[in-house]
């Protein structure tokens, strides 16, 4: 199915669909996230039964600041739809979809790890790639660039370019 046809189908229920570069993107409010995913998965003509990934972007100058993207794929129809949800800066919470798509488990942990977005109802929301006890969320645009201190057993050694002799 072409992206325009897909967008037409989705618009019947959720009007905010954008088609760009041959890809259909649906934008919903975070309160609608679980219902929208369930609709996209269970509607026979859409049948988006596979979650390819969950990822996030950080736009410090926009409102809302954080945007989650759920990339969905249909095994039966081999088409794709992206679903986006905006989250405000002061309350980056959203419902977890692990119960609906088990593959979201590690994806949501990764987004939590790097952006600090909390997925309510996630069965095991802890860091997945960074060491336990890491301070901060490194992919937020407000984080400092450059190397960080080596954190090893209480040692705290700065990067080479910030060391004094």
């Amino acid at each position: 199915m072409r992206a325009e046809e897909l967008a037409g189908l989705v618009r019947a229920r959720y009007p905010d669909v954008v088609v760009a570069r041959g890809e259909a993107t649906l934008v919903v409010d975070r309160s609608e996230l679980v219902d929208a995913l369930a609709y996209l998965r269970d509607e026979p003509d859409l049948s988006l039964d596979s979650l390819s990934g969950v990822t996030a972007t950080d736009w410090p100058d926009r409102t809302p600041r954080y945007w989650l993207a759920y990339d969905l794929y249909s095994m039966a129809h081999t088409h794709r739809v992206r679903l986006k949800v905006g989250l405000p800066e002061d309350d980056p919470h959203v419902r977890s979809v692990v119960a609906m798509y088990p593959t979201a488990n590690w994806h949501e942990r990764e987004v939590y790890d790097f952006y600090g977005i909390v997925f309510d109802g996630h069965p095991d929301l802890r860091r997945i790639l960074l060491p336990d006890g890491w301070d901060g969320y490194p992919l937020r645009k407000t984080e400092d660039l450059g190397g960080v201190n080596t954190r090893y057993r209480g040692a705290f050694i700065p990067p080479v370019d910030r060391r004094t002799t």
Partner: protein, 175 residues
């Protein structure tokens, strides 16, 4: 065997002593100090621990394989167990999460032990000046030789190894 071949094993009595040494070699006797003999033996057969982390490891493997052949210096045997190794070649960038693993492997190696930091990432973070990568492996383990390059060619690693051999042969005391 001419005395010149017996690198590091002459008595160190200077030029005047060398003819005596040569006589003794002909009689099947070598004279040296315990320090020199032990250091010479250590240098001749270093066993590196397998610690490839990134693209530098490919060059390290190339150095160990047929074309470059580290076995010429008695060190083709990369050990999978740190307990059987005395040289750690940190080949590649060390992520912050890998740091404690690296140190644990290092701690499990028996004394005496040496570390070569291979490539610019292991030495100083390299192009990865970011949150994910340790900015210099010398913040975690003591490093003997830094080999620059991105990645260093096998010849560069071999040069670093030979410099380490020189260090092992000439420095330190046998305990």
């Amino acid at each position: 065997m001419p005395v010149e071949r017996l690198e590091g094993l002459h008595t160190g009595r200077g030029q005047a002593g060398r003819e005596d040494d040569e006589d003794e070699v002909r009689r099947g006797i070598l004279l040296t100090t315990m320090d020199k003999a032990v250091r010479w033996a250590r240098k001749q057969s270093m066993w590196p621990v397998t610690f490839g982390l990134a693209c530098c490891a490919i060059e390290m493997m190339a150095a160990g394989a047929g074309d470059y052949d580290l076995s010429r210096w008695g060190m083709e045997l990369f050990r999978a167990s740190p307990r059987q190794a005395d040289l750690m070649i940190v080949a590649g960038r060390v992520s912050q999460k890998m740091g404690p693993v690296l140190r644990t492997v290092y701690d499990q190696m028996p004394e005496p032990k040496w570390v070569i930091s291979m490539g610019v990432c292991a030495s100083a973070g390299g192009m990865f000046t970011n949150y994910a990568v340790v900015q210099g492996v010398d913040t975690i383990v003591p490093v003997d030789i830094y080999v620059p390059g991105c990645p260093p060619k096998p010849e560069m690693l071999m040069y670093g190894i030979l410099r380490l051999h020189e260090k092992v042969r000439t420095e330190g005391h046998f305990k």
